[in-house]
Amino acid sequence: MNRLRRLLTASIAIAAMTAVAPAFADSKGKIYYMVPTLLDEFQTESVSSITKFMGDVGYEVVTLNADNKTDLQQSQMNDTILQKPAAIILAAVDFNALAPSIEKARAAGIPVMIFDRQITSTPSDLTSVAGTVEIGHVAAGEIQRLLTEKKGGVKGKILQVLGDPADPYTLDIQKGFEERMKEFPDVQIITLPAMQWEASNAGTIVSDQLVANPDIDLIFLHAAHLSVAAVAALEAKGKKPGDVMLISSNGAPVGLDLIRKGWLNVEVEQPLYAQAAALAMFADKVVNKQEIKPGTYKVLGLDSVLTIEPWGPNIKIPGAAITKDNVDEARFWGNLKAPADKITPVQ
């Protein structure tokens, strides 16, 4: 009897803790944001910025987290389609695996906007990206500059630390980076992945490589949070800021802090705020299935080019290289100062 009572009490307590119902306000409609994970700061900030900007133009945002699981995101898409929202914003866990879900949503009359992770295999209603391959290009340009400044030419040894090797996001950055570095035969690139984007895995790679290849000139990490562990590994090997050049991508707050402390030379930013704002600017047109015209649009002050591609309207926001000279600028999402001005819909 006692055991039964304890079981009941525990069950009620657990149920009470989880049964917190959100309150919804009136709006133009609900837009579901399918976020791939909440385990990194870019995605976390994307939730708050999309919620804020969509709120500016009158939409309520419901976010579903896929925990980096493709099958879960597919199920979430199926469930969301049944809710008949005004639109869906998708940041896909897997670029191609979600194509059938997009087709299903659009067939049900629900417009789909693609955020950050470009899907070209099927049409969608609007894509807002910085371009992951382009991030690799920007990184390559900065690395060429840094190597030239240090060694008088583009030569030396680079350690490239990827994220999880099953994540197309990191593979695209790698592709962009390596296609721009191909023309420099005096550069040796050692590439290793940090499984599951886990920071201590990156630290382990850096520790091992510093022993095996003490002449590494530069380390390129595909996410800012990995560079924190890399710096910890460098510190443990007695290195000081500047001894080994560091560059990472995505522009997270940790990366900006490391620039300020002198450890990180460059952070290649994904313009999160502008990417999110672009979706809000065109939300009415997407929801009402109005024509989106190609051209150059100012998105939070950034000149962004909208083109009509085979997969639909595609707005590309330029990424930026953050260095110690511009690290404090509010436009970088890593400074976590989301623009206070309201977004104005494109007419």
């Binding site: 976390t44 490589q209 562990a229």
Partner: protein
């Protein structure tokens, strides 16, 4: 060697064979290290061996608690998330940047014992909850700790908001940076843990009783051993030790991210199995588990140095666990033949 030949071996030969069987994982480790030293470029150097020991720290410490629960005849899938929670709380309280509150204490060194005690306490609370549901409410340990694995990681994301804490207090960072005999202090802490818990498990009534319970809980109960109490303690210990692993992880990475420690549970499980702990309970020694952890770290390091795609690590890891279980079965058969 047939059945008859085995029975005809001398006591000395039998003792040697027993020794080899008891320490098989150490021989495997020695063989692997020798092979890597001969064939993997840049492997044979003191820095690499120090790295292997350092990298064994987190999975190793986590594996101690996991092994204790498994030897006691249960299961704890929550150790990875518990470590992540302890790391995140350490990070939030004692990091100066990101979501860190940058709490400082006077004198500054106080941050070491205070943060350590907090991490241990966080782990112990999770362990207590696991023990409560499993021992008091007689729920299945696999399900209870699987639930903890999920909700504790969820708690890490919730309290961090998905953000990270960085720039850990210098008093703590010193433990991750300073070295003794080429090996960082955090790795010495792991070695000390293995030494202490090996002693506890091998030489104290607590350890012997835990092993007895894992082997046959009913017999242990009839022998007057307080089975429930000791199993409860083993869950609390596993949680507290996972908290320690999280504390060390935060020190190593100078903070915490929401996905810190992801994937370590399976490495810890692999190390425990390779180290000779039976998943059925009642069998296993912690030094063997440490050898298992070192073996896994050696393989990870070799793969890093060879530049092989990391997918191979998982393939090799899986095959290694399979080989370990196979060897364990063979060991049992060989022992039976000697008997």
């Amino acid at each position: 060697m047939n059945h008859r030949t085995l029975r005809m071996t001398s006591p000395r030969q039998r003792a040697i064979a027993e020794f080899v069987l008891d320490h098989l994982v150490w021989f495997m480790l020695a063989t692997v290290l020798l092979a890597f030293s001969l064939f993997v470029p840049n492997f044979f150097q003191i820095g690499i061996f120090a790295n292997i020991i350092e990298q064994s720290t987190f999975v190793g410490v986590m594996a101690i608690g996991l092994a204790i629960v498994i030897i006691a005849g249960h299961m704890d899938l929550s150790v990875e998330s518990t470590a992540a929670l302890a790391a995140m709380i350490t990070g939030i309280l004692f990091c100066a940047r990101g979501i860190g509150l940058g709490i400082t204490l006077t004198p500054e060194w106080l941050v070491v014992p205070v943060s350590l005690l907090m991490a241990l306490a966080v782990g112990a609370v999770i362990g207590f909850l696991n023990g409560f549901f499993t021992i008091r409410l007689k729920m299945n340990a696999f399900i209870v700790t699987l639930a903890s694995y999920i909700w504790v990681r969820g708690l890490v994301v919730a309290i961090s908001g998905g953000r990270s804490a960085q720039d850990l207090s210098p008093s703590l960072r010193v433990i991750g940076i300073e070295q003794l005999l080429y090996v960082p202090l955090i790795a010495w802490i792991a070695i000390l843990c293995f030494a202490v818990f090996s002693f506890i498990m091998g030489r104290t009534p607590f350890g012997r009783h835990i092993t007895l319970i894992g082997g046959n809980a009913v017999a242990a109960f009839r022998a007057g051993i307080k089975v429930d109490r000791l199993m409860f303690i083993s869950f609390i210990l596993a949680g507290a030790i996972a908290g320690l692993a999280g504390w060390l992880l935060a020190i190593r990475t100078s903070g915490a991210t929401a996905n810190l420690g992801t994937g370590m549970l399976f490495n810890a499980f692999a190390a425990v199995v390779i180290g000779g702990v039976s998943l059925k309970g009642g069998v296993g020694k912690l030094p063997g588990v440490y050898a298992g952890v070192l073996l896994l770290s050696s393989i990870h390091t070799a793969i890093n140095l060879m530049g092989l795609p990391a997918h191979y690590t998982q393939v090799i890891l899986g095959l290694l666990v399979l080989a370990a279980v196979l060897l364990d079965t063979l060991k049992l058969q060989i022992r039976q033949r000697f008997a």
